[in-house]
């Protein structure tokens, strides 16, 4: 199940664990990324908390946790090479995997069509 937030994160939910990243639209708006800071595995976040930070040449931006949950894995590849977020934001450049506190919570988020309408 692929879902989106109005803060421009995407979530791919499988068996109660969401793989989370930022959308192609967000990556384009941010421009060339030069630094990514990810949360620690095992940390827990509430929906809307700042879970990660991305920095372009010009500015720093927060990446919010899309739902309540616990970080179970992070993607070191984008820390080592932040430009991966620009080149493959909705694929190889996922940010973290979130074990959802409520596995059904993602149902209420935007589907792909609704998100596309949002950024159109």
């Amino acid at each position: 199940m692929l879902k989106f937030t109005d803060e421009h994160e995407w979530l791919k939910v499988e068996a109660g664990v969401a793989t989370v990243g930022i959308t192609e639209h967000a990556a384009g708006q941010l421009g060339d990324l030069v630094f990514v800071e990810l949360p620690e595995t095992g940390s827990t976040f509430a929906k809307g908390d700042t879970a990660a930070t991305v920095e372009s040449v010009k500015a720093a931006s927060d990446v919010y946790c899309p739902l309540d949950g616990e970080i179970v894995e992070v993607n070191q590849a984008i820390v080592d090479d932040p430009s991966l977020v620009n080149s493959d934001p909705q694929g190889a450049a996922w940010f973290f995997k979130l074990k959802l506190a409520d596995p059904n919570a993602a149902d209420a988020l935007l589907d792909e069509a609704a998100y596309k309408e949002l950024v159109a």
Binding site: D32, V34, F35, E37, S56, V57, K58, A59
Partner: protein
């Protein structure tokens, strides 16, 4: 989306839009922050070929002596700037600052001697205040005119001289800070060999009506690409150059701002025209005794950028505040984070370790000589 309909436009706005620029508000103008290539590529292109910048938002001011003698305009202007204007030869340009009575900096600017008048270029955000300041200070002896019918572009980078030569004019005899007239695309322009990137290059004042034509023609050259404000800021930061309003302002003196080099011997203690500018007591006092703080280069040790506004501490717990970052970001040529800011006088030596507060952490930062990238001016 932010409403930008109230903003002023430069004569090149339509060209920026046709090139796919992302426009943002800057100093009351709608300006291109980047083009489709993006900040990183634009930056590197400027350092390796030639980048073209629209800086038409800046103020262009003419100061003409009523007596007809350029010396009278120079001496009048020296009452507002701590710079040797009288000693500036015809066809030469010099960096300057307007100071206030407390020794703070009202703006920074360029002054060129154009033979029968002085030609000034001031910052966009300050230009109206600067114009009033000039009229108030100089009206007795000079006519002060803001030129609102001219655009200003900059062509910067190692290929800039060759590009102008191939298209229109041999400018190879010009040295850094020379100013001359030249016909570009059959338009008479005022060209100075200067810029804000640390690279060799030119700043070109063009009648507004011809600005888009000249710029378009430059952009047709394969070595030239348009560069936005994003890359402009990273380029000047790597070059160690101050951004007025960030790195110098009314609360910083030229000594604190480490731009004493802008004050020639004639205006310093013991000089032929010592003092005689606003704030002279304080500024010359700091020349003699030093200031309690100073602007320095700052190199973060990790990969995380340290931005303007970050506090600097002597320790990793945030106990002893020793300064503040005024500009910071990522340097594409340096390939790492870079910054500048003010530290107290006991922490100014190169190699001194300080700690920047970023998102609740204290990141190690080393006081480092400026510039971060070697300037390549043709002297």
């Amino acid at each position: 989306m932010e409403d930008i309909s109230h903003l002023k436009h430069t004569p090149l706005r339509a060209l920026h839009l046709s090139l796919g620029a992302r426009m943002v508000p800057f100093a009351g103008y709608e300006m291109p922050v980047q083009y489709p290539d993006g900040v990183m590529k634009e930056h590197l292109h400027t350092r390796t070929a030639a980048g073209l910048f629209d800086v038409s938002h800046m103020g262009q001011v003419i100061v003409r002596p009523k007596s007809g003698k350029i010396e009278d305009a120079a001496l009048a202007l020296e009452k507002l700037v701590p710079v040797d204007v009288l000693g500036l030869g015809e066809g030469r340009q010099r960096y300057a600052i307007f100071t206030n009575a407390e020794g703070g900096i009202l703006d920074d600017l360029m002054i060129a001697n154009r033979g029968d008048h002085l030609f000034l270029v001031v910052n966009a955000a300050c230009k109206d205040a600067d114009f009033e300041h000039l009229k108030k200070g100089l009206s007795d002896s000079c006519e002060v005119t803001m030129l609102d019918d001219r655009a200003l572009i900059a062509l910067q980078g190692p290929h800039a001289e060759a590009v102008l030569g191939e298209l229109w004019a041999d400018v190879s005899a010009m040295r850094f800070m020379d100013v001359a007239e030249a016909d570009l695309h059959d338009v008479t322009c005022i060209i100075s060999r200067s810029g804000y990137t640390g690279e060799d290059g030119f700043e070109i004042s063009i009648p507004s009506i011809s600005a888009a034509d000249v710029t378009q023609r430059l952009l047709e050259h394969p070595d030239v690409k348009p560069i936005g404000l994003g890359a402009r800021d990273a380029l000047r930061l790597e070059a160690g150059l101050c951004l007025y309003g960030n790195d110098i302002d009314t609360t910083t003196t030229p000594v604190e701002g480490a731009i004493e080099w802008a004050m020639q011997k004639a205006r310093r203690a013991g000089g032929a025209r010592e003092g005689g500018f606003p704030g002279a007591d304080r500024i010359l006092g700091q020349f003699a005794q030093g200031a309690s703080r100073r602007r320095v280069g700052l190199k973060p040790e990790g990969r995380a950028p340290v931005r303007g506004g970050a506090n600097l501490f002597a320790d990793t717990e945030g106990k002893t505040l020793v300064g503040k970052v005024t500009s910071g970001g990522f340097g594409p040529t340096v390939d790492g984070p870079i910054a500048m800011g003010y530290v107290d006088a006991t922490h100014t030596d190169n190699g001194t370790a300080v700690y920047a507060e970023v998102r609740g952490k204290y990141l190690p930062v080393v006081v480092t000589a400026l510039p971060f990238v070697k300037q390549t001016y043709k002297r």
